[in-house]
């Protein structure tokens, strides 16, 4: 059971992610954010919930759909928007763009534009912790499409063989760009396949923050008692197109959800109802929303006003 304080903190993170993504949708048409954006509307509860369960110091790796993970770990929007605008003050000095966000000081070591690529990196981080006899948690977030890449199976096999402390988090939206799971999978159940490995397996509705937290805590307890890796299968709904700021239900490859379905798939609406149960008032939520809006407005202004890297920066940061 979450405390009221925890509930409001988590709500703040959900709102921060949603409003940041909405801000991108609002301003992207100005063509000043010259980077392909893979927005996380619908995905928010997964990184917020999983990271809530990982004590600091923690290490995380992600994908190109990484805004929610970055914001959940850092709550920073200054360097985030500066990066999207290609400015010197961006988290990668304008060399990362949307698809390569990282924040080593907050434990986010790498994200990648190539599917499954950071999974072995996360296993390497877990190996490093084992090497130093640390129990520091490592989580790697990847889409269901990553399970079609060899790197996923190689990584899972190695992590299980060496009993590494790593949490594999499958963010399953059932789509690989536009291809459905049935077009891609030669197996029926993700969880059943993973159970063939020496790996703890959990699953939950990834649209439900409370369910994500409960499943993560359960799985981590099992991982601790068995000293084996964990695999968390979380379904969620991608509200927007694969890359870009628009809905694409008219494209014909999937059905638009009706209003009732939308409400069930929206992590913010789901968690708002839970907040009521925790005794959080509407005005407490509104204060958070207003503060988040102000934070994002300020970050957008800073990003727009910020300087581009100078020409010398082109050649910097290649070598140590």
């Amino acid at each position: 059971m979450l405390s009221k304080g925890e509930g409001l903190k988590l709500y703040r993170q959900l709102v921060l992610i949603r409003r940041a993504e909405e801000a991108i949708r609002t301003f992207y048409h100005e063509n000043d954010m010259k980077t392909p954006v893979h927005l996380g509307i619908g995905q928010e509860a997964i990184p917020v919930g999983v990271c809530h369960c990982l004590p600091n110091p923690r290490t995380a790796f992600g994908t190109y759909r990484n805004h929610a993970l970055y914001l959940a770990l850092t709550e920073d929007t200054d360097r985030f928007f500066a990066e999207l605008y290609g400015k010197e003050g961006g988290l990668g000095r304008g060399k990362a763009g949307s698809m390569h966000l990282c924040a080593p000081a907050h434990g986010l070591l790498a994200t990648s534009a190539v599917v499954a690529t950071t999974i072995p990196l996360a296993v390497g981080a877990a190996l490093a912790h084992a090497y130093r006899n640390e129990r520091q948690p490592v989580a790697v977030f990847f889409g269901d499409g990553a399970m079609e890449e060899g790197a996923f199976w190689e990584s899972l096999n190695f992590a299980c063989q060496r009993s590494l402390n790593i949490l594999f988090v499958c963010e399953d939206n059932g789509l690989a760009i536009h291809a459905s799971a049935s077009e891609r999978r030669g197996f029926s159940s993700i969880s059943d396949v993973i159970r063939g490995f020496r790996c703890c397996v959990g699953s939950a509705d990834g649209s439900d923050l409370v369910a994500v937290i409960e499943a993560t805590n359960r799985l981590r307890a099992e991982m601790a008692s068995t000293s084996q890796p964990g695999f968390l299968h979380l379904r969620y709904f991608r509200f927007l197109e694969h890359v870009g700021i628009n809905e694409d239900f008219s494209a014909g490859y999937r059905e638009a959800p009706d209003e009732e379905e939308r409400n069930a798939l929206d992590p913010l609406l789901r968690f708002s109802a839970h907040l009521d149960m925790l005794g959080c008032t509407a005005s407490e939520r509104r204060i958070i929303e207003t503060e988040v809006d102000m934070q994002i407005q300020r970050s957008l202004s800073l990003a727009k006003e910020g300087l581009f890297p100078d020409a010398a920066a082109l050649y910097e940061d290649v070598w140590v």
Binding site: A125, W319, V320
Partner: protein
């Protein structure tokens, strides 16, 4: 300490020294701790440092390259070993998409201090999938240092320097070099070194990679008996490339042959030739000559293999072309002296 040892022993000693000095250093890769020990080059490590710091892996070159990167990001200093460089192509996503660019994409926030060691070159009819060098390919990607040690001293000091380097380094070791013996100064650990003149000469500059240095030294011995003195340069580190020593040599000789242990097309020899042609345009008295692999996949049968690989004979013929000399009678010369020591199966 200054001792005579083989190239393989120099590699094992270098790893042991660095593992002794720094608990963050570990050595891993398929069959690294087995009874053969990567042709002896990881001998003694598992006994001395235990299986947590010297261990084998599944057959998963892609993920294991990523594991090395992830461990490096997390403060360790991995040495990832491959018994053949061709297997590194399975790890190419990690090498080209991550290892080369992660530091840059982080705006300089991340460091990737890791070493990949891989064996290249001829053995015993290795064929098309056990013979590639790939240094030109790896060097193509900004952010990766690529070295090819030739002498036992360089095997020793370049491996130690690579482990101490905070950048990712790929070291490529020719199979036949493993048996070569030489003096090794154990305290000598400079940063990853640039090209070195290994034989001074005044008539033509021969810039070599890896095994071609051995072939060039053999060619130099033959040519010297015909009053031709070639300057032999071992390139050693091909990325990042500092061709200054070669340019200075050309200023003296006016002639240049590049003997690369790779295909010519779009390879390291093309890059070096382009730079030297630009830099030494006024000093060159003839166009730069290049020799390398024949432009075919590597065959296995010995007669065709001998034609595929560049050799001392080809170096002599190229020098003759550069200097407008008549063909030297080579029928009484003994070539491939190291090959005669090498037997199979691998």
């Amino acid at each position: 300490m200054n001792t005579t040892m083989t190239y393989r022993d120099a590699l094992a000693l270098a790893a042991a020294k660095e593992m002794d000095a720094d608990p963050r250093v570990f050595v891993f890769g398929l069959d690294v701790p087995d009874h053969k020990r990567i042709f002896g080059s990881t001998k003694g490590l598992v006994e001395k440092f235990g299986s947590s710091r010297c261990f084998g892996t599944p057959l998963s070159e892609d993920a294991m390259t990523g594991v090395a990167i992830g461990a490096a990001l997390s403060g360790l200093r991995p040495v990832h070993v491959h018994i053949r460089a061709d297997f590194l192509l399975l790890g190419m996503n990690q090498i080209a998409n991550v290892m080369s660019s992660l530091r840059y994409m982080s705006g300089g926030a991340l460091r990737l201090p890791l070493v990949i060691r891989a064996v290249i070159g001829r053995g015993w009819g290795q064929g098309a999938q056990h013979s590639k060098s790939l240094h030109g390919l790896f060097g193509h990607f900004p952010g990766i240092k690529v070295g090819l040690p030739t002498s036992p001293q360089d095997a020793y000091s370049m491996l130690r320097a690579a482990i101490r380097d905070d950048n990712p380094v790929i070291l490529l070791e020719h199979r036949w070099l493993y048996d070569i013996e030489g003096r090794v100064e154990e305290e000598y650990v400079p940063p990853l070194p640039g090209p070195a003149v290994v034989r001074a000469g005044s008539d033509a500059t021969v810039a070599c990679t890896s095994w071609m240095t051995i072939e060039a030294m053999k060619a130099a011995e033959v040519l010297e008996r015909h009053s031709i003195n070639i300057e032999v340069i071992d390139m050693r580190t091909v990325a990042p490339l500092d061709e200054g020593i070669v340019a200075s040599s050309i200023a003296k000789t006016g002639h240049c042959l590049i003997a690369d242990y790779d295909w010519l097309y779009a390879g390291f020899s093309a890059e070096l030739a382009a730079r030297l042609a630009h830099r030494c345009f006024g000093a060159l008295r003839k166009p730069i000559e290049r020799i390398g692999f024949a432009p075919v996949p590597c065959p296995t049968t010995r007669p065709l293999e001998n034609l595929f690989y560049p050799s001392a004979v080809q170096i002599i013929r190229a020098v003759e072309r550069l200097l407008d000399l008549d063909s030297i009678d080579l029928s009484q010369e003994l070539f491939y002296s190291y090959e005669e020591r090498f037997k199979g199966p691998f």
